[in-house]
Symmetry: C2
Subunit: 221 residues, 2 copies
Amino acid sequence: MPYRRTENVVRRLAARREAIMQAAGALAAEAGIAAVQITPVSRRAGVATGTVYRYFPSKDELVGALVHDVAEREIGAMRRAADAAPGPLSALAAAITTYAARALGSRKLAFALIAEPADAADDARLAFRAALAAELGRRVSAAVQAGLLPGQDIAVAAPALTGALIEGLIGPLAADARDETGTRDAVQALTLFALRGLGVADARARGLVVGTTVPGRERGG
Amino acid sequence: MPYRRTENVVRRLAARREAIMQAAGALAAEAGIAAVQITPVSRRAGVATGTVYRYFPSKDELVGALVHDVAEREIGAMRRAADAAPGPLSALAAAITTYAARALGSRKLAFALIAEPADAADDARLAFRAALAAELGRRVSAAVQAGLLPGQDIAVAAPALTGALIEGLIGPLAADARDETGTRDAVQALTLFALRGLGVADARARGLVVGTTVPGRERGG
DNA sequence: CCAAGGCGTGAACGCTGGCTCACTTCTTTC
DNA sequence: GAAAGAAGTGAGCCAGCGTTCACGCCTTGG
């Protein structure tokens, strides 16, 4: 029975697989997920396009493996930092700062995968988000200047607020299919989160967070 | 000089343009931006594909116009609600609740445009986000159960927190190219925002928010 | 050194989807 | 009703990109 993979070959195969994933990661870091295309990846990894398919059954699986790796590494770092903290609250703080520090430090490496790519195609969506952030930022600024909120970096607060609103209610993570009261509760919870984040200590007591009625659509569809 | 557009024709043209944009919006609402393709849009609008190009020079412009419309409408609603409020803080609260209520009420209509589509292709990214949210949610739960945070709906808080972290630092809205101290400040500001949002009244006093050193990369690229 | 068979290759295939254009149809003006 | 030209049409073109496959090379076991 001729040919059985020797230890050396196994290593070489693993190295190639690794090279392919590295190439994919580099491309993602430089130009977003959309830039992870088989031909560029293979060229960058120094192999032929067909070779990629010896290691990954499809492009989706390649990307999946890449994201999985990165996620494991990043979340692992958060977890380690949190577990080393003395209590639940500082664990939370440690997780957050770890995330934040790593996001900024290796932004292009790891986090291109969760952030929107700078794709020309969806400039439009970014414009919407930006407009939202701008509007909210103006309001926050006004409240700060009126002395109703603590001073803060609007360039951080406005996007963070926008992100919380998007992800908290309409993003893919948000649980949908809530009933009527569930909806009201969610809106309240999110509003509370947002206002507290901005520095309102007692939004409820001040009557800022109240029940909301979901308005009907203004335009058909 | 034969043929000059009569008033009636102008109206018909405007109506067609509107029909095309409505069709595009409906498709976006039902299946995400990726589903806004010329052929389906034209079919839905009851015109030929070529006709679409009589009204919009390219698909990107069509999508752009659509998003612009929606953004104007939604942000307009926020602004009106805010302007009707008695003070800056309740203006802010009004803007947020208006956003939230509309997002939930007409989610499929308007906000499919800023949320990620349920595209099968980028399942991977969602997985990352979901893992992040799960990890953070666990930590928040632990802190709540330890009595260190006020009770809250984790299903809202975790995604909101995740969104704030993503958009606040690595999203396309976040100002990049910060210097070293700017980075530290941003991390601090975001951590403060996040912890306050979760209900920590005095994160700074408790020593939870401290200076951070951005760690080096753990893996090349 | 030979047989066996995995591994590497890259040109080519096929599908998808944006866009065009030669042609028809409709509208206005005279 | 005829000329002029705008508006509508949709089959087809073209580019990008994921995927395949027939072939040659290399490694292994005998």
